[in-house]
Amino acid sequence: MPENYKRHPEAGELPEMTDVWLVQNSGQKYSGAVSMAYNFEGGPDDESLVVGCNGKSYPHTAIGRHGNFLQWGYGEPPAQMTADGRKLFLNCVCYISKFAGRRPLARNQAMNRRCAFHYRAFPTKIAKKYKGREEELYQLHKDNIELLRYEQKQLSVNTFEFMFPIDAELKDLGIESNRRISTLEQLTALLAPNPAASQSDLSFLARLKANRRHRNRAQTARRLLTRYTGLDFESRQQWRQWLEEHRGRLFFSDFGGYKFYVIPEGYPAGPAPEAAKEPFWFPR
């Protein structure tokens, strides 16, 4: 295992020795580039095809596809590729030719939530609370991985700070994930009229409290629907209609800004949104 791999948690998955397949004879230790493995979410517009041995960490992508773009990460020209490397390159050219018209659907707006563990980028306030108990901090975020979001703060022209807070608002509503279709259904249900409003057996004060609580939850639900779809409908009926119309063609993307996207008509849907294959590594 390369020494640089051992600095990152993903190395725990790897044996000390492993077989590799040679693509190029570069005469250097490394030649080319890899892409972040966690960018590839198993959605309708992406594929991580080959993992590349690299100078940073496992399991980043040497050959990957996003829409109609295929990145061949190896840096050497054909004369320096191995015979099998040349055949693989030709295969890649032939393979991507099948994706005419299949543009990328989700462009980069955020980092995948797995980066929280790779970079240990937890919110400062929580990190301070768990100082000296880093493993508990790690476990807290692992337990809440379905609710992680991404926030980025620009510090200067070329530097920014990023972190992965847990969506406390979703959690307070009793919702377990921000990336399942059922999340949208649960939030839409919270927009329904308050049943307590018509209950004559409740006292006036009880009805008032129930109404206020319901109104607050409905407002939060509407705000979260907008957060996770980028849309802003006025009424519950409009949200329900949109959900019914697009339910079978929705996918969620961390990379695309922690939002649901609608797969356009005629664009192959890929795996079912909630059955999409997870990237290679998951925090332990």
């Binding site: 590799v20 397949w21 040679l22 693509v23 190029q24 230790k29 490394y30 030649s31 080319g32 580039a33 890899v34 892409s35 972040m36 960018n39 590839f40 992406d46 095809l49 080959v50 993992v51 590349g52 041995c53 690299n54 100078g55 940073k56 399991p59 980043h60 992508t61 040497a62 990957g64 596809r65 996003h66 109609n68 773009f69 295929l70 990145q71 061949w72 990460g73 190896y74 840096g75 020209p77 054909p78 004369a79 099998d84 055949k87 693989l88 030709l90 295969n91 050219v93 032939c94 991507i96 030719s97 099948k98 005419a100 018209g101 299949r102 543009r103 990328p104 462009r107 980069n108 990379f255």
Partner: protein, 126 residues
């Protein structure tokens, strides 16, 4: 970011089959039949790397045209089945494509990863 070599075991089967078929086709017929794809290679104009890629691709694919990556246009790219974007300068050009660009495109090496970053793709530079 740098990479040398590794083939993930879960994809090796698919790639190995494709390689074997390509090799078998060549072995049985003597000359390997060319794949019916018209390629545009956009790289360093008149450089040895461009000549290497162009010659290699021309041996296996129906036609190859070369052009300068720095002056590539979407209109020019749209006339081909696949476009290969490559460069060996320390600061290579990073063309920005429109959201509607749909031509199958291979981006190569570090220059390709930078193009991915410029276009906000998942294949961007780590």
């Amino acid at each position: 970011m740098r990479v040398v070599d590794m083939l993930h075991k879960s994809t090796f089967g698919i790639v190995a089959v494709a390689i074997i078929r390509l090799a078998a086709a060549g072995a049985s017929q003597g000359a390997t039949p060319k794949v019916d794809l018209n390629i545009l290679y956009a790289g360093t104009p008149a450089g040895p790397r461009t000549a290497d890629f162009a010659a290699f691709l021309a041996r296996h694919l129906a036609s190859v045209e070369t052009t300068d990556l720095a002056t590539l246009t979407e209109e020019h790219a749209s006339r081909f089945d696949v476009v290969v974007l490559d460069h060996d300068a320390r600061r290579p050009p990073r063309p920005k494509f429109s959201d509607g660009y749909k031509v199958p495109t291979v981006t190569v090496g570090a220059a390709g990863a930078h193009i991915g970053s410029t276009n906000r793709l998942k294949t961007g530079y780590l």
